[in-house]
Amino acid sequence: MYQLDSENNWGSKHLTQTGATVIQEAQVVALPLPPEASEFGSSVLEVEGKQQVVSISSDRSLEQLISYLLRYGVLLSSAIVLTGGILYLMRYGAEPADYRFFQGEPAVLCSPDGVVIAALSGSCRGFIQFGLLLLIATPVARVVFSFLAFLRRRDFAYVILTLFVLIGLSYSFIGTYF
């Protein structure tokens, strides 16, 4: 053991000596340092690559969410339209269809709040119209959702772009009803 210890000591001494020589070697051979530096550089590149992968995969998850939003928005609204449609056909199916002359819709079916009132009062035409409103709201909801998603990810270029589209949409809505 003692011998071993002494050997170890010796060994460590030897190690430091070799360590020193390594350092010396490293000092002498200064040229091999650039590869080390480039190694460091490549790890930075790797990090950047990872960041890109992360942003692409989060782009992918945003795409998934938007795809679901559109799908379920359109399926929900068509379920409502279908229900209202069946009731409508049961009630008025045998009456003659006439769309040759434009009469416009009753005022209650021409504004979002009126449609909600009509749907709640049990009118099947109001119910269909409510489903159609949900359908129209689906792409708008998609813009709102992407605006919030880009805001959360601090992707400010797209925050501004989606906000602009939202302002355009609201402008047309406000211009019509107010």
Binding site: R100, P139, Y158
Partner: protein, 278 residues
């Protein structure tokens, strides 16, 4: 014809409209308006209202599939929506000044020309030029599935494409139609995106363009629930089917279908403006 029979027939026609609309990126309105006015004798205002509903239904239904499959490019779509929104607002303003009838002829000529342009085959591989700073900044790049695996692409000539999209918005604000054709043209011919990416991204954005004019149509009483119900319920399964077919379809065939629909649309517009329709 009673309401039940009428609804069934309109449902079948709308199914076709949704199918073609999803496949070409033009939206269901291309088929719905002439179908309702010429075949069923529906007043143009009701037809336009139902067409608006069909465009949104096609857009949402098909786009959900196209995004999932990796064809539609969200960033390019959202970037170009800005141009269409500005254009639509300008168009709505111009509608009070410009004669719509003379404009219809101009649009018909442009449609015929774009039908011709869409037939010019070009390699669907992006060139070696580095992307412009704008493209890098806004990340207007992507990959799309092809039979030979994923192909990466980037947007070219973004300012011109953006301008053409603005024009698409002006026309849709003025006439309520024709925006889909311009959108596909801008992305396919100017920004040099793959054809399937162009049509699917157009599909993704036409919903928002239509929603922008929805409140006007609703307020004027153009959206009739009895008429829009079979239209929407027909267009949606048609759009889902169209989205499935597009994935497997060969691009040259899609181009032919696209051009064919454009030519019919243009002839119909010339006919209407001579007879006195829209």
């Amino acid at each position: 014809m009673n309401i039940l029979e009428f609804s069934l027939l309109v449902w079948i026609g709308s199914f076709t409209a949704g199918f073609l609309g999803a496949l070409t990126g033009l939206g269901g309105g291309v088929v719905i308006v002439p179908l309702l006015t010429s075949v069923f004798g529906v007043d143009i205002r009701y037809a336009v209202g139902a067409s608006l509903v069909s465009v949104i239904a096609t857009s949402c239904g098909a786009a959900s599939a196209y995004i999932k499959e990796g064809y539609a490019n969200l960033r390019i779509g959202m970037f170009l929506e800005v141009a269409t929104t500005i254009g639509a607002l300008i168009g709505a303003f111009l509608a009070t000044i410009v004669s719509v009838k003379s404009l219809t002829i101009v649009l018909a000529i442009v449609l015929l020309y774009s039908a011709y342009l869409a037939q010019r085959t070009r390699p669907e591989i992006s060139d070696e030029l580095p992307p412009s700073p704008l493209v890098t900044q806004l990340r207007l790049t992507g990959t799309c599935p092809t039979p030979d695996g994923l192909m990466s692409y980037k947007a070219d000539s973004v300012p011109i494409g953006f301008g053409l999209m603005g024009l698409a918005g002006v026309f849709s604000g003025l006439l309520g139609i024709g925006s889909g054709a311009f959108k596909v043209l801008a992305m396919d011919q100017v920004m040099r995106l793959p054809f399937k990416v162009s049509t699917t991204t157009s599909n993704f954005t036409i919903g928002v363009t239509a929603a922008a004019s929805a409140s006007v149509y609703l307020a004027r009483g153009y959206i009739d629930p009895g008429l829009s119900m079979p239209v929407m319920l027909g267009v949606l399964p048609g759009a889902f089917l169209g989205a499935r077919v597009l994935v497997g379809a060969k691009t040259p065939i899609l181009r032919i279908v696209f051009s064919f629909v454009l030519v019919v649309m243009a002839l119909k517009m010339v006919y209407n403006s001579l007879i006195g329709g829209l």
